[in-house]
Amino acid sequence: MPPELKTFIEQLLNGITVGSLYALIALGYTMVYGVLSMVNFAHGDIFMVGAYVGSFTLARFADNGMLQTSPALAVIVTFIAGAFGAALTGVTVERLAYRPLSKASRLATLISAIGASITLQELVRLTPKLGQAVLSIHFGTFNLFPADFVNWGSKMLKDFGGSAARTYPALLGSGGFTIAGIFIPYVRLLIVGLSLLIMVGLYLLVQHTKMGKAMRAVSEDKDTASLMGVNVNQVIRTTFFIGSALAGIAGVMVGFLYLQIRVDMGFVPGIKAFTSAVLGGIGSIPGAVLGGYLLGLAEVLGIQVLPSVYKDVVAFAILILTLIFMPNGLVGGKKRLMKL
């Protein structure tokens, strides 16, 4: 096999891995847009929270030395913890920042979403500081928390958030296997496989469960759905829960892939996932998946032609061109949340 072709195929695999991540995050954007007709600007930061919860969980495994003895368990638990951490964050953001504004203008909702994005980033960044301040509350000589608890608490707080980047242990290692001279790392295989599994699961959930039916109804017409006995608020909450959980899983994947997470890591993937959602047709679940993989591949192909520093410029340019020339995206209109 000629080396150029080999590099090209490796780049394609790279594009598919990154595309899976974009697709997972894009699903959250598209589902929220489907039920609320709003861009959840804080979605990228929910993804970041997922990565941080995952890193915190891994630190607990490391405490017990279980990282070496049972790495598979650690990986599974980390994914679940990241998903739930992000899901709870998403539901909280919806309750505090979006629901009070359900009757307000779109501008107000968008600004509130920007506020939620900043708040989440800063909360994670300041967790050690804020937590330390809470732990050291005292009235005169009386400390609110016992000394043991304070020691334990400050140790836990050190493992979550902070301004510096946090590292993920290289649990999945640099192992992999080789097909026809092309090296496929396990971590990429896991990302692509798990993403596909989740997407199929989401499809089944939306098409074949009662909750899925309710989601589709709300995305068609909120008021009519409400008249038909659908609990709209509960559907919105569930949508945020599922969308945020997917973002959290993507966050843990990014941790395992790049081994480093930062508080501001959500911004660029967030915008790119939003681009994917728009490219596929925002509001459409298959569109988000299609858009994610297309964007992942477009970036890889873009940097074959342009210097690699322009990777982000390619994505932003695709976003702007799609919005201008094809605002309904590839798959279709705003109201087609769940249609194929």
Partner: protein
């Protein structure tokens, strides 16, 4: 917050008091850098910086507050103005054009870019417009960062010329304080005239309802382009002043956070109130800058404030302008009957 708006309505009823209050405040602002008091240089610098943000806020106010187009890429115009001056008035290329000419040129270049951005996005509204402008702002920053031969990348442009007025070189914070104060006065005056003109009414009509405005005979395309150009002009001009004051600029001066800071201050002050911009800038830029120990929590407070503000008081501290203009017409007609 209610108190503030009733205070302002009370002041507008007692106009002599309003003018007296205004005159005293103006004189205080004018002589502030001249009277000695502790940490004066810090105060002058911080207030000058807040003044720069007032200028930028006026520009963004035309986009968001008056015309209703949510622009998340405002730092791009600011950056374009700054880089225009930095490249044409420094040792970087060895070109040294005069500051006063560049003040206009920087604004015009930014306005031109504003129009070029606006043309393709004319059809977009609301969140879509916001995301496109955000993408544009990021592309601009990435270009500043990556066109290394032209902008010197992350090393930035240093050794930018200081303004020169009949041989007097602007060096200290006090000089720039007065320059910025002058520009604020000029642009508050111009913008307030513009708001009361046909153009301003067209902008407000587009803000309230674009379809109705178009059906009422407002040429929405022209007026949106005009709004983009006017706002970007002020942003570019602010950038020129920033570059001249700092003496060096870097791509990260013009990131998304800069855009969001400007947006925050006009939202806090009242979306669509010229004087609200002043209050918002002082609150957001000057106060946290003075409270050093507090600065770590500044962004957290911003974020929470944005959410709370949208829930409690989505129209900001001061009412939208121009309430008098909006109410005046029907009353006059009734009196006529």
């Amino acid at each position: 917050m209610h108190g503030l708006s009733s205070l302002s309505s009370w002041l507008s009823k007692n106009r002599w008091l309003f003018f007296a209050f205004g005159a005293v405040a103006f004189i205080l602002i004018l002589i502030m850098p001249l009277i000695p008091f502790p940490q004066k240089n810090l105060w002058v610098r911080v207030l000058g910086y807040a003044g720069l943000y007032i200028l930028l806020g006026l520009g963004l106010l035309i986009h968001v507050g008056l015309t209703g187009m949510l622009d998340l890429g405002f730092a791009a115009y600011y950056g374009i103005g700054a880089y225009t001056y930095a490249l044409l008035a420094s040792d970087h290329f060895g070109i040294h054009l005069p500051f006063w000419l560049m003040l206009i040129v920087g604004g015009l270049v930014a306005a031109l870019v504003g129009v070029l951005v606006c043309i393709p996005v004319l059809r977009l509204r609301g969140d879509y417009l916001a995301i496109v402008t955000l993408g544009f702002g990021e592309i601009t920053r990435l270009l500043f960062l990556n066109l290394k031969g032209f902008t010197n990348g992350s090393q930035g442009v240093i050794g930018i010329d200081k303004p020169d007025l009949f041989g007097m070189i602007f060096k200290t914070g006090t000089h720039f304080y007065y320059l910025i104060l002058l520009l604020i006065i000029v642009f508050v005056f111009l913008t307030s005239r513009l708001v009361k003109s046909r153009t301003g009414r067209a902008w407000l009509a587009i803000r309230e309802d674009e379809d109705v405005a178009e059906l009422s005979g407002v040429n929405t395309t022209t007026y949106k382009l005009l709004a983009f150009a006017a706002g970007a002009f002020i942003g570019g001009l602010g950038g020129v002043v920033f570059a001249a004051w700092q003496g060096s600029i870097f791509p990260d001066n013009f990131n998304l956070m800069a855009s969001i800071n400007v947006l925050c201050l006009i939202i806090l002050g009242g979306l669509g109130n010229l004087y609200g911009v002043v209050i918002g800038a002082l609150a957001l830029i000057a106060l946290p800058d003075m409270l050093r120990g507090f600065s770590d929590f500044r962004m957290l407070i911003f974020g929470i404030m944005l959410i709370v503000m949208m829930i409690v008081k989505p129209n900001g501290f001061l009412p939208r302008i121009p309430p008098r203009l909006e109410r005046q017409k029907p009353e006059q007609e009734r009196e006529g009957k």
